[in-house]
């Protein structure tokens, strides 16, 4: 760690709320497990699990997909040289880049029924796979969706498919809370938030139809500020998404919210979506401590007034700003029975808690029973950030982003900071 005057002044102060706020939250959820640190990946996992680094220094590795042959496709973002999709071949505990293609950055990567799907920040492509799950024509993908809104903020497009030939894409709102002036202190909300027409929701398209635009799709769910992690739940046959909750309650409305409140509120929500659902952004946010939908200060809220009639409740509400970037329902047989059909969530880690200590940078497990959350979430894999100081300052070494399941039931985690791919296995 660099020692500059500010850092040395602030860190001792930052540690106090860290002890008060962060630790109890995390410890409470993890008491059921004894932890073993597994070298060399440096992750802390429940007993019996092991993590290996199977690839490193790939670049900004966003989402990833594993083929039935155990090969790996990784989507890269903001790459400067090379290509935007990597094809990695596994060999024991290591992997090698066998191929790379795609001239666009982006986030989405998904395999379904013999096709690889990939997204840029505006478009969605697909590539036909051969019997070995290799892309047949890497330079000529089919462009299935184009012209999705990208106004810098919340620009990434994540994708997932159902079992009926549909693909779901998030279009994040290009705004924090639909203020007249985005992120400006005291600026009020735009009446009838016009962003919601073409962003701040999930759109459904046909997976096999070329060149679809907004008009060809179904505006599947609205009032969702931004989604990066999403997955199709096979048990319920239903779409689940993780919303990134709003930022800066204190910065924008200092008279209504303390710095400490603003660091942990509002919730990062897991939603189970049905067609036509409205999650309420920007008019409300979810308070995970009071378990209530609160009227946003931009729309006349006072930090207590509830609102949001007709909007859905979250299935699970996590602490604020942890940035859920990956969601995966585990359907494999390798992990112990209690993990089956439960949700893994990769939390990229916060930035909007400063000057309070940052948090997240871990993979969480939320148990499910009969398609419903069952019991408390727990930290499953931790240690991506490095030391506690690295975590709390936000200067994390690695940041979990994408999740994928291998044909043998292994869990893969991508890191878009250093480009590391972790493989987590269970040894009986």
């Amino acid at each position: 760690m660099k020692t500059n005057s500010l850092f040395s002044l602030v860190m001792p102060l930052a540690l106090i709320p860290a002890l008060v706020l962060t630790n109890p939250v995390v410890n409470k959820k993890t008491v059921t497990h004894t932890k073993t640190a597994t070298a060399p990946a440096g992750l802390t996992l429940p007993t019996g699990f092991e993590a290996t680094v199977i690839a490193d220094n790939l670049g900004q590795a966003r989402h990833l997909a594993i083929t039935p042959q155990n090969d790996i496709y990784v989507k890269l973002n903001h790459f400067k040289t090379g290509k935007g999709i990597l094809f990695l071949h596994q060999n024991g505990d290591k992997s090698t880049v066998a191929n790379s293609f795609g001239n666009y950055g982006g986030t989405g990567m998904y395999i379904k029924d013999g096709y690889l799907y990939a997204s840029s920040d505006e478009d969605v492509y697909r590539y036909k796979l051969n019997a070995k799950s290799e892309v047949i024509n890497p330079d000529a993908p089919e462009k299935i969706i184009s012209g999705l809104l990208n106004r810098r903020e919340h620009e990434s497009k994540s994708i997932v498919l159902d079992n009926d030939g549909n693909i779901y894409v998030n279009v994040g709102a290009y705004s924090n809370s639909c203020q007249v002036k985005d992120r400006q202190k005291g600026s009020m909300g735009r009446p009838g938030c016009p962003i919601l027409d073409s962003a701040g929701g999930i759109w459904q398209f046909k997976a096999d139809k070329l060149d679809q635009h907004y008009g060809d799709g179904v505006h599947y769910a609205k009032g969702i500020r931004n989604t990066v992690g999403l997955d199709w739940n096979q048990q319920n046959n239903q779409l689940f998404i993780m919303q990134h909750g709003r930022d800066q309650l204190h910065d924008l409305f200092p008279d209504l919210y303390t710095v400490q409140q603003s660091a942990v509120e509002p919730a990062e929500c897991l939603y189970a979506l049905k067609k036509g659902d409205d999650a309420g952004w920007p008019y409300i946010y979810y308070d995970q401590e009071r378990h209530e939908k609160i009227l946003a200060p931009e729309y006349g809220g006072d930090s207590k007034k509830t609102a949001g009639e007709g909007t859905i409740d979250p299935a699970v509400a996590f602490p604020g700003h942890l940035a859920p970037n990956g969601l995966l329902f585990y359907t494999g047989n390798q992990f112990p029975e209690r993990y089956k059909n439960g949700a893994f969530i990769a939390f990229h880690g916060s930035w909007n808690r400063a000057p309070e200590p940052q948090a997240g940078y871990f993979v969480v497990f939320q148990p499910f029973k009969d398609g419903k959350p069952d019991g408390k979430w727990e930290v499953f894999a931790d240690g991506f950030a490095g030391t506690q100081a690295q975590k709390e300052s936000g200067r994390a070494e690695h940041r979990p982003c994408g999740l994928a399941q291998g044909p043998d039931g292994a869990l893969y985690v991508s890191d878009d900071s250093k480009g590391t791919i972790y493989k987590i296995t269970y040894k009986k």
Partner: protein, 149 residues
């Protein structure tokens, strides 16, 4: 260098600077604020208005918010820098070789002296070293300021 020695070293520098600026300006105006005071006041303004995005160590946050460490904007032209605070910034430019996705709002609600202080703080923190920004410079830029969009 140990934390303590860095702190002592920095406070010495700040003292020297403030003595220097005091010597230069003592017969100009009695309202002139020393560099050390400006930096100290600027730090408070920074924590309240900037740290949630640019972080307390000035290092920024991922692909969202850029660092304020030796960037061409922080160390460069003061008019451009003052305008970033007055008008906000979302031009999708490369900042030391990387682009950032978040939106910085206008901070024109800050007073001239507050903007001068926060920029002076930024330009003399996080390993940056650059001349102070004064309230009169902010005043001039504000008077001629045409909002970008």
């Amino acid at each position: 260098m140990s934390t303590k020695r860095t702190a002592i070293f920095l406070s010495l520098i700040i003292m020297l600077f403030s003595l220097g600026s005091y010597a230069q300006t003592k017969h100009k105006s009695s309202t002139h604020i020393s560099l050390a005071t400006s930096i100290a006041n600027g730090k408070n303004i920074y924590i309240q208005n900037c740290a949630s995005c640019h972080q307390t160590d000035g290092g920024g946050a991922g692909n969202m918010n850029p660092p304020l460490i030796k960037t061409t904007y922080v160390l460069g032209n003061k008019t451009t820098l003052i305008k970033i605070i007055l008008n906000g910034f979302s031009d999708n430019v490369e900042i030391n070789g990387q682009t950032y996705q978040n939106t910085m709002a206008s901070h024109d609600f800050l007073k001239d002296q507050e903007i001068a202080d926060v920029l002076t703080y930024v330009r003399n923190s996080f390993t940056n070293k650059a001349s102070a920004v004064t309230a009169s410079q902010v005043k001039t830029v504000r008077a001629n300021n045409k909002p970008a969009k």
